[in-house]
Symmetry: C2
Subunit: 224 residues, 2 copies
DNA sequence: TGTACATCAGTGAACGCGCGTTCACTGATGTAC
DNA sequence: TGTACATCAGTGAACGCGCGTTCACTGATGTAC
């Protein structure tokens, strides 16, 4: 890969095209229903041709999940980039909003990442590390706020201190706990919305609802 | 059905047995993978025999979802039954805990109800009404607290007043909003846990985490 | 510049699998006279 | 009490489908001499 030949580049391009066709189909249906046959058909190829690029369906799904994690993390970071580092509340809010917006505009990728596991698929190590990335972004924002003394949660969040022992390096347990709280909250709102479960109640007020809930969350973890 | 004959009773029993075998298999795998063949095999029948009891796979799934809704709602109500009607905070907490416990002990049924929709399945009206039931239980608890003046949310929850117009009968918009907040929150914690997404962080502290989060939620909606 | 060779993307046929569903049928059970 | 009939649970074979995967192959492309 240090000196990619012309053939290697072509190979990589086709690999990318397969993934992009796969995404196109996932957007419309669901990741569980993704089939190699329909991808090949759309590309004007026969199914076995795909085996030049992915050793199995599973490997393709792995690659897709990894890409989704990267795309998701990038979207979150982009939403933060325009905000000053000391605007902790603003950054936190932007993160929550960015999270929900990405999820809403990419419902199938989102449920691929955070929904029920795809049947028969097993997460490998590389994908697991990509999964952490988006959480680390959230963790970073909460940690920065805490270090600046801009965090005063209404509830004691000490349970996780047990988890890491007492003198563990890395973010304080409280910060981890609060970041996870935030994640849980946003995920709850988002996934109910994506699966249409709150639609009867909210109808077109989903945006307002999410906004208010983010405010409540911010009050609850006391970010300023 | 007013005067069920012996045959009709037997028919109903077999119907129940099919559903219970289906549940047994769903508990282990996933609802999307449920197959008529494996159900029949486990019952010592051939696949076409099931068509005496359900017109299609879809109808069976419908019946299962409906049953799950009923079972879920009953579990919630049972958790409330031992608590005095004026212990609003206690009832709310019990409801949240009951919600999470049912979900954890019935992971597949839970994701059948509140996860991604089963591919190819369309919710009918009867199932939709059963779905409302569990939410109405939550709504009832929040409403009772509000009427007793035991509710003082930290955030203004007025957006939904627009939804129902101004002089709409039924619970005030704020109550609906807060009930939905609670549902979102618990669902978020629960579904992250069920899909194993917070496992790396929480490990065996999931219970503690949930407990603290419920407390935070109660503080946030100000239930006393 | 031309020839021999290696590479490798893509094909087409086949395998084995499981799926939901249909259909004509058998045979036991319960009912009516 | 015994016979004729209707009911209906369950069978076994078949249909048509789509799936992932394998394999021997063709044929174009690029490389080495």
């Amino acid at each position: 890969m240090i000196n990619p030949t012309r053939k290697q580049i072509l190979h990589e391009n086709t690999r990318d095209e397969i993934k992009s066709v796969a995404w196109k189909q996932i957007e419309q249906q669901s990741a569980a229903q993704l089939s190699l046959g329909s991808i090949a058909r759309e590309m004007g190829l026969t199914t076995p041709a795909l085996y030049r690029y992915f050793a199995s369906r599973n490997e393709l799904v792995s690659a897709l999940i990894e890409d989704a994690h990267i795309s998701f993390a990038q979207a979150l970071e982009k939403g933060l980039s325009s905000l000053p580092l000391d605007d902790h509340a603003g950054r936190f809010r932007a993160l929550c909003q960015g999270y929900r917006l990405w999820a809403i505009s990419h419902p199938q990728p989102y449920s691929l990442l955070f929904g029920s596991p795809v049947p028969g698929y097993r997460l490998d190590n590389e994908a697991a590390r990509a999964a952490e990335h988006s959480f680390l972004i959230l963790l970073g924002v909460v940690l920065a706020a805490q270090q600046a003394g801009k965090l005063s949660p209404q509830t004691e969040a000490v349970s996780l201190s047990i988890l890491h022992g007492e003198q563990q390096p890395g973010p304080p347990a409280m910060v981890i706990h609060l970041a996870l709280s935030a994640w849980s909250t946003i995920h709850g709102i988002t996934s109910l919305e994506l699966n249409g479960h709150n639609q009867i109640i909210l109808a077109e007020h989903a945006n307002e609802f999410a906004e208010i809930e983010i405010t409540r969350l911010m009050q609850s973890i006391g970010i300023k």
